[in-house]
């Protein structure tokens, strides 16, 4: 048994008060969970402390919360580990001059300077982010999570008449979507999403991962329609800022960001032009490196907004607006000397790699374009082969569930 201090962000709507922090002392084994610590408080100290939970085994997806600022499941986070992280972060932000010899921090006059020693840093527990709070750790998942899930038509839209019995598919053709099928709808990724913090209309990681689950399903007939819908929504697949927060938050290794990148790749392959110029940005980047080996930033801007000759003869309204919008930045750059050279300013006169290096890069393009195999996407961890077997095993469980079923569990 060990003693821990948890600091919970509370909100009791009936009290008429705003949110406040409250600290509790708990006593439990380090291997028990943060959720267990909350239930202990509820049991022994304050029955009004509110938290959602059911399975306590990372299956039901009820107990999403933020622990030390990181979104995840209360029942899957061990309290001992949470304590270590709380202390590490407290140590990091406590500054004070270092003695040169010992290399140890000594206390400055700042009162934050020496946590840890006698007073252990508390474990900070908050409700999930990007969602309204109903009470204490209970958030309203309807308004930001479920509404967005429904937004992507999360059911199978198959070809023709339904077969009399089950749909029959090749197991290999389902490997691509097993990762997204593992989602338990806990909302941790939504809570962590940094694009959504800035743009609440963003469809978001959970719903887009769910969308890929159907776009990649061989039984679904509306894949291209779905891609048009997700790419043409200005808050769709090209609104993700590629920050990996959802990847680290997800307790089920769904890697929502990877699914979003797959949606982008498929939308690109289908030739879908989006209002965010996401696809033309991607193509421009790829082409510049083929030609120059390193990035020509000015050319990237120009080609993203007004691709090719057609884009320049008939630039879109957005292209004109964005290009004009970038002029003040360029002028500031010229003034400070940041861009005081023609190659940096005029798109296209950026240098190539020296000698034969550029030909070498082009040879790589040729090789990769001839061979590109989607299956390399799943190489992961220390043993690629293992990851593949695992995917197949997950798949067997997944297929055992009937069509359109949410989780394989």
């Amino acid at each position: 048994m060990a003693d821990y201090k948890i600091k919970v962000r509370r909100f009791q709507p009936e009290s008429g008060q705003g949110p406040y922090w409250e600290e509790f002392k708990v006593e439990l084994e380090p291997s028990l969970s943060v959720l267990d610590s909350l239930l202990q408080v509820k049991d022994r100290e304050d029955g009004s402390l509110s938290v959602r939970c059911s399975c306590r085994a990372a299956i039901c997806g009820s107990c999403g919360m933020k622990i030390n600022g990181q979104s995840g499941l209360g029942c899957k986070t061990q309290i001992g580990e949470a304590q270590e992280l709380a202390e590490k972060m407290a140590r990091a932000t406590a500054s004070g001059p270092r003695t040169r010899e010992a290399g140890r921090e000594i206390a400055g006059d700042d009162e934050r300077a020496q946590p840890g020693a006698e007073e252990a840093a508390p474990i900070i527990i908050e409700p999930m982010g990007n969602m309204p709070v109903i009470k204490d750790l209970i958030t309203d998942m309807e308004s930001t999570h479920w509404t967005k899930i429904r937004r992507v038509t999360p059911w199978l839209l198959p070809h023709g008449e339904a077969p009399e019995r089950e749909y029959i598919v090749e197991p290999e053709s389902m490997i691509d979507i097993t990762q997204s099928m593992a989602c338990i709808q806990c909302g941790a990724c939504v809570s962590s999403c940094l694009s959504m913090e800035a743009d609440p209309d963003f469809i978001g990681p959970a719903a887009l991962a769910k969308a890929y689950r159907f776009v990649g399903d061989p039984r679904d007939a509306e894949g291209v329609e779905r891609l048009h819908d997700l790419a043409e929504d200005p808050h769709g697949i090209y609104d993700c800022t590629h920050c990996f927060s959802c990847v680290d938050a997800c307790p089920k290794d769904v890697a929502p960001m990877d699914q979003i990148m797959r949606l982008r790749r498929k939308a690109g392959e289908a030739g879908i032009e989006d209002p965010n110029s996401g696809h033309s940005h991607e193509l421009a980047f790829v082409k510049i490196i083929e030609k120059k080996g390193t990035l020509d930033e000015s050319l990237l801007l120009q080609e993203s907004f007004a691709p090719g000759i057609k884009g320049k003869l008939v630039p879109s309204r957005r292209a004109i607006k964005e290009m004009l919008g970038s002029i003040p930045t360029a002028i500031r750059g010229i003034k400070t000397g940041k861009m005081r050279s023609l190659p940096k300013l005029i798109p296209g006169i950026h240098h190539k790699l020296p000698g034969t290096a550029q030909d070498e890069v082009q040879a790589i393009y040729k090789h990769a374009e001839e061979h590109n195999e989607e299956f390399n996407l799943y190489i992961k961890g220390d043993e690629g082969e293992l990851a593949e077997i695992e995917a197949e095993e997950n798949l067997e469980t997944a297929i055992a569930a009937p069509a359109g079923e949410e989780a394989p569990s």
């Binding site: 040169r100 940094l194 090209y238 940005h281 390193t294 070498e360």
Partner: protein
């Protein structure tokens, strides 16, 4: 660790494009620290995750070429961009995971007499931040300080690609990689400013796709750091620098408040503490004024 550190150096594209002050200040700091840089001038862009989005194998092969060029020198590799770190680590992880895939990718390099080998001579690819803490050492760094950044309040800004995903970026072996900036700030005699945005996203990847979302992120983090009393931010990522510094006046319009916070590249912050002058570190090339930082420094002459 031998006394002299020598690395194959990949400066990245942006450090030689829109943030030339980064490349320049890295050279000055390396010399002061006694780190020898063998520049990989034939190497290509890492793809910044964008090429991977288009064609994963293409990105893997392009980066395998860079690793192979580094391995030709017999040295480990160093980069100065969080985004290079993330994009290259992703490809390296996939190349290392599967020998048949590695052979397939190496086939594309064979015509150039190049080959990427897993773990040869303990090959690693580290951002300057990691190298500084893990190989150079904080104590040794602290001992080199001639102008402690006393009283200077510095907010760390990591960049997504160097803190996530943890499983890919060696956090198992080096769990403190997400607090190295704080440790470096303290080693240089400065004070760490705690604010909300340190490990969040600057918004750069969507600057062309959704300018509003992008600049709102940058503006919010800069604003939060100002509210927490920061004199400046420091970042190991030139792309973050573009959004936090170059776009700062535009970000100020989006978040509708005054900003104006100096944003330093990591080698610049280290350079100041090692006695280099703001001008030679290229600080005059920044968009957000670095005047306040310089005033603070002037109080403690080198």
């Amino acid at each position: 660790m031998s006394d002299q550190i020598k690395v194959a150096y990949w400066p990245g594209c942006v450090s030689r494009g829109f943030t030339p002050e980064l490349h320049g200040s890295m050279a000055i700091v390396a010399e002061k620290l006694g780190i020898e840089l063998v520049e990989l001038d034939r190497a290509n862009c890492c793809g910044a995750g964008v090429i991977a989005e288009h064609n994963q194998e293409l990105a893997d092969t392009l980066n395998a070429r860079t690793f192979a060029l580094a391995q030709e020198t017999g040295l480990s590799m160093m980069n100065i961009c969080s985004t290079c770190q993330g994009a290259q680590s992703e490809c390296q992880q996939r190349l290392d995971a599967d020998s048949s895939y590695r052979a397939h990718v190496n086939e594309a390099l064979s015509g150039q007499g190049l080959k990427y080998e897993k773990d040869v001579n303990g090959f690693t690819n580290k951002n300057f931040l990691w190298l500084l803490v893990e190989d150079y050492g904080l104590d040794k760094l602290a001992a080199q300080v001639v102008r402690p950044l006393s009283g200077m309040r510095v907010g760390p800004f990591y960049g997504c690609y160097i803190v996530r995903p943890k499983e890919r970026l060696g956090y198992g072996e080096h769990p403190d990689r997400d607090i190295y900036l704080e440790q470096v700030i303290v080693a240089l005699g400065g004070e760490v400013v705690e604010y909300d945005g340190a490990r969040k996203c600057c918004g750069f990847p969507v600057i062309t796709m959704n300018r509003e979302t992008s600049l709102k992120q940058a503006g919010t983090h800069v604003g939060d750091a100002i509210d927490a009393g920061a004199d400046c931010l420091v970042t190991p990522c030139p792309l973050c620098h573009l959004n936090l510094d170059m776009q700062q006046p535009e970000a100020a319009k989006v978040v509708n408040r005054d900003l104006g916070l100096a944003v330093l590249h990591l080698p610049q912050l280290v350079g100041l503490a090692l006695g280099a002058e703001p001008k030679e570190l290229g600080m005059s090339k920044h968009i957000a004024s670095t005047g306040w930082v310089e005033e603070r420094l002037a109080a403690v002459p080198a």
